[in-house]
């Protein structure tokens, strides 16, 4: 079967009996193995996946009812806990950890009869924008393997872009789904904060983290989101509102749609090709019936600073549990006392970026600094939220670039943390406001590297952004382009 078939196409083929779930799973595993040099996969759960696929085939043959993704191979970011399957969050701290429970989203995938074939590589503890910060090797961009795929969900984006699987789960805290989606030419959505349960998402920044879907088309992403979303009594922050049928929301033109264009997202600093592609997309939206509304989100320039206080503070707290006592890495060195055990275990288990953020976050919360940093940042967050609320009174969605640059070369910026942080400048504000946002492919630069268009909606605006993204996608051909596979390259 075509490695770039969509989940929708696979479901149709499975239903008509053209292909079996086992065959699809075997093919996905084979492509994952053949594409190992991308570094996308940390673990392939072959036996489990094949057993599950066989079970789906058996139940289909017996006429039993099946879930919405029955037989479709899926990858899960290693930040998400999977029972019985090693889960590392890309960190040495959790090397070899086999969780005794499943994340809620994984339970939902299983209930939908999807076939989880393995765990995907990522920046350690979801902290990074290039997937160069995994303890288990970098991930490469399938479009140009000398370049980053983006991060932190680099493995998820690469696996989908390279045709290993049609669907994958990632997590997005400040852009970690949208940015790699953009750099890898696939669709990635960050749900409204609380729309998808965080139970089983290894926590990075609790007030920002969301699990979200990757796919090669908007319809596939809508399909997967429908399985993931919904209330969860195990997550106090999960929204209780019912989940609409996202797939059914797709379709129709954009007549009457008001697309807000925030001027702060088009100031200098973007690569020319990125700006050109995004502006062309805006023109395309107009062609589909939308009206562009220039507006301002005046506090945008404070977003990165706000994020790096709040996210690191919450991260320093969430990562305090990694102490080598009950699970995870414990130092083998001689230790003088328990504090020493902690300090050595954590120093050995965590990479540089994680340490950097823990230190920054600890500092921001420490005695004497809480008001100046954490509390201040929480207040600026309110100002950013109000910017969006005011904007959504005048438009239905906002359209912006996702990343100021296309995929940079591996190793190009890894030593300059502040520069790396600034790569998230377009995705961070909507994270802070809790809005939903999708990245959809909108072109390529001169070197053939993908460019993404970001569509931001108000909280619980997933139907709306997916509808707009779908309309745009269907009016273009970007989603039909794929990186050369191993077979093609030969």
């Amino acid at each position: 079967m075509n490695p770039f078939a969509t989940a929708g196409e696979l479901l149709a083929a499975l239903e008509s009996g053209d292909v079996t779930a086992v065959a699809l799973t075997e093919a996905a595993l084979a492509r994952a193995r053949a594409g190992a040099e991308l570094g996308a996969w940390l673990h392939l759960a072959e036996d489990e996946a094949l057993a599950r696929a066989a079970d789906v085939d058996r139940r289909r043959a017996a006429g039993e009812p099946l879930g919405a993704l029955a037989g479709v191979p899926v990858g899960v970011k290693d930040q998400i806990v999977t029972r019985g399957i090693p889960t590392t969050a890309g960190s040495k701290m959790l090397a070899g950890w086999v969780p005794p429970y499943d994340a809620t989203v994984v339970e939902r995938l299983r209930a939908a009869d999807a076939v989880v074939i393995g765990k995907l590589n990522q920046d350690e503890f979801a902290m990074g924008s290039s997937n160069e910060r995994s303890a288990f090797g970098v991930v490469k961009n399938p479009w140009d393997t000398s370049r980053i795929p983006g991060g932190s969900s680099g493995g998820s984006a690469a696996a989908v872009a390279a045709g290993h699987v049609p669907l994958a789960l990632g997590t997005d805290t400040g852009g970690s789904i949208r940015q790699p989606a953009s750099l890898c030419g696939v669709v990635g959505l960050k749900p409204t904060y609380g729309r998808v349960s965080r139970y089983g998402a290894i926590a990075f920044a609790s007030s920002l983290d969301q699990i979200g879907p990757f796919g090669r088309t908007v319809a596939d992403v809508a399909r997967l989101l429908g399985v993931l979303a919904g209330p969860d009594p195990r997550d106090s922050t999960a929204l209780t509102s019912p989940v609409p049928d996202y797939l059914a929301a797709l379709g129709g033109d954009l007549a009457g749609l008001r697309v807000g264009v925030p001027e702060e997202y088009f100031v200098g600093g973007m690569e020319a090709a990125v700006e050109a592609a995004v502006r062309a997309a805006l023109t395309q939206l107009e062609g589909l019936g939308a009206t562009l509304v220039p507006l301002s989100l005046p506090h945008t320039k404070y977003a990165v600073a706000t994020y790096y206080i709040l996210a690191t503070a919450e991260a320093s707290s969430n990562l305090a549990r990694y102490d080598g006592v009950r699970f995870g890495h414990r130092t083998r060195d001689r230790v003088s006392d328990i504090a020493d055990l902690y300090a050595k275990s954590r120093a050995e288990g965590f990479g540089d970026e994680v340490k950097r953020r823990i230190i920054l976050g600890t500092y921001a919360l420490s005695s004497g600094y809480y008001d100046a940093y954490y509390l201040k940042a929480q207040k600026v967050r309110t100002l950013l939220r109000r910017d969006f609320e005011a904007a959504f009174a005048r438009c239905d969605v906002l359209a912006t670039p996702v990343s100021p640059v296309t995929a940079i070369g591996l190793g190009e910026r890894v030593d300059d943390p502040l520069q790396m942080y600034l790569m998230d400048i377009f995705t961070i504000p909507s994270s802070l406001a809790g809005n939903t946002s999708v990245s959809v492919p909108c072109g390529f630069d001169g070197g053939g590297l993908p460019i993404g268009l970001q569509l931001i909606g108000p909280p619980l605006g997933e139907e709306r952004v997916l509808r707009v993204a779908h309309a745009y996608e269907q009016a273009t051909e970007w989603h039909r382009r794929h990186p050369a596979t191993n077979e093609e390259v030969g």
Binding site: T87, A89, S236, T237, R321, Y370
Partner: protein, 480 residues
């Protein structure tokens, strides 16, 4: 206490484990004494990806306690993370409440050496308990048991209004009595369900400023609190009088040695880095819930004791004994309501009944000698159907044979009150005891005791003792 120039300033922080079936932020069971690490789940262990969800009952119990002691209930309180590293704290932080606790203010009224005193509370808040570290000297390892981790606690913070160890003991006892009576906590100190830390400083009498205080941690009995504070107050006074300075530190009470010891380790003071827990939102409490809990509040033990004194005319001591538990107080009211003399009821309960319960290992809720059964016996005494002495025998039969008082009287006959019958028995005894008659008539009044005993024997114990006495004297005089 030390010299009269000095005054102690004491404030207690009490942690009471809430009487819930499951933990405060997860559905793992709360129970005591089980094998290590059986009352756990992924949330208890703080496994990556796990999240807290608040236990409704914990909130209700905190509100119940707060209302009972006159706190303001914060309708929108918050949880905060309190960070420190310790192996029995799985997440590396404790979920507690910091700037916005669920209960604010409040007061505890108690009696210190017979004087009524009211001490203010600062606040009451909810938090989760940590697990247990047990050090094994043989292996040189510490063993971590997380059964207790996540158990709901209320922390009851008192203003530094206490001025003596006696104040502190009375306060601690009062708080204990209240949480147990409300069903908020079982208050079992041996099991560590009720723990106390004492903050203490000294100052010259007349001063209003507070001096440096020390914290004595984990004094988990009323006796220890009193002893530890006595010692620490004297220690601080002596130190300052010698020109030294009290160091702000944590100390522990060593009861065997009778001293407090500094527990200052080489670690610096904690920087807890409090911030609102992003995994939990505001704890919204609506009016309907508060009113429902308020309507369901029982009478507090002290209030009940005062009512017993007032309405039943009992002494403070008797009322105190009878209100030691709600069950016992209920029992007393059950009896007192069915008889004429509440003091008689009190005496029978505090005497024969409690002794029997003790001896037979029964408790008052389930003893076969129900309030109704005891009331029946007492009513028979009040009706003079039996004498007090006979009643004792009847009671013993109720305990050993399970008979009712009515049945026993029916079988053994009531007391003999007929004057004629008593006179007959008296005359028979006097006829048979001429020497004693002569003794009495010669002025030895004491011999009447022997004669009363003989009449009781003659009547198989059933003659009314007062009537016997009167009849004896009359008959004796007649023989003068």
């Amino acid at each position: 206490m030390g010299s009269a120039d000095w005054e102690a300033v004491i404030g207690l922080e009490i942690h009471a484990q809430l009487a819930t079936d499951s933990k405060i932020f997860c559905g793992a069971p709360t129970s005591f004494g089980d094998d290590p690490n059986v009352n756990i789940d992924p949330v208890t262990l703080g496994l990556p990806g796990t999240l807290p969800v608040l236990n409704r009952r914990a909130v209700e119990l905190a509100i119940r306690l707060g209302l009972a002691v006159g706190c303001e209930i914060d309708r929108a309180s918050r949880f905060a993370r309190k960070h420190y590293f310790y192996p029995d704290l799985p997440k590396g932080y404790q979920i507690s409440q910091f700037e916005e606790p669920i209960c604010v203010g409040g007061r505890i009224t108690c009696d210190v050496d017979g004087v009524e005193k009211t001490f203010r509370l600062t606040r009451i808040h909810l938090e989760e308990d940590a697990g247990k570290n047990v050090h094994d000297p043989k292996s040189g390892r510490s063993h971590i048991d997380l059964n207790r981790a996540g158990t709901p606690l209320v922390e009851i913070v008192g203003e530094p209004d206490l001025r003596s160890p006696a104040d502190a003991v009375a306060y601690m006892k009062a708080v204990h009595q209240i949480v147990v009576a409300l069903g908020v906590s079982d208050g079992n100190m041996e099991q560590g369900n009720f723990r106390c830390d004492a903050n203490v400083s000294v100052r010259r009498r007349g001063d209003t400023a507070f001096n440096t205080r020390t914290e004595i941690k984990n004094v988990n009995s009323f006796r220890f609190v009193g002893r530890a504070l006595e010692y620490e107050i004297a220690r601080q006074i002596a130190l300052v009088e010698e020109g030294g300075e009290v160091v702000q530190e944590t100390r522990g009470w060593d009861d065997d040695a009778g001293v407090t010891r500094s527990q200052r380790g080489k670690e610096e003071a904690h920087d807890y880095r409090y911030f609102p827990d992003p995994d939990l939102m505001v704890v919204q409490v609506d009016e309907a819930l508060v009113e429902a809990i308020r309507a369901d509040l029982p009478e507090l033990p002290r209030d009940r004791r005062l009512r017993f004194e007032r309405d039943f005319g009992l002494s403070t001591y008797d009322a105190d004994v009878l209100t030691q538990s709600a069950a016992r107080a209920d029992y007393f009211e059950g009896v007192a309501g069915a008889v004429k003399d509440p003091k008689l009821a009190a005496n029978w309960i505090m005497g024969e009944l409690l002794a029997t319960l003790n001896r037979e290992g029964q408790d008052i809720e389930s003893t076969p000698i129900t309030a109704a059964a005891l009331a029946e016996l007492i009513a028979l005494i009040e009706a003079k159907t039996i004498s007090s002495k006979m009643a004792k025998g009847c009671f013993a039969a109720m305990v050993s044979d399970g008979v009712s008082a009515k049945d026993w009287v029916a079988k053994h006959g009531g007391q003999i009150t007929d004057e004629g019958a008593i006179r007959d028995a008296v005359e028979a005894v006097l006829d048979a005891n001429a020497p004693q008659v002569a003794e009495y008539l010669s002025g030895k009044d004491k011999v009447i005791g022997y004669l009363v005993g003989q009449v009781m024997r003659q009547t198989r114990g059933k003659a009314n003792p007062q009537q016997v006495n009167a009849a004896l004297r009359k008959s004796l005089e007649a023989r003068r």
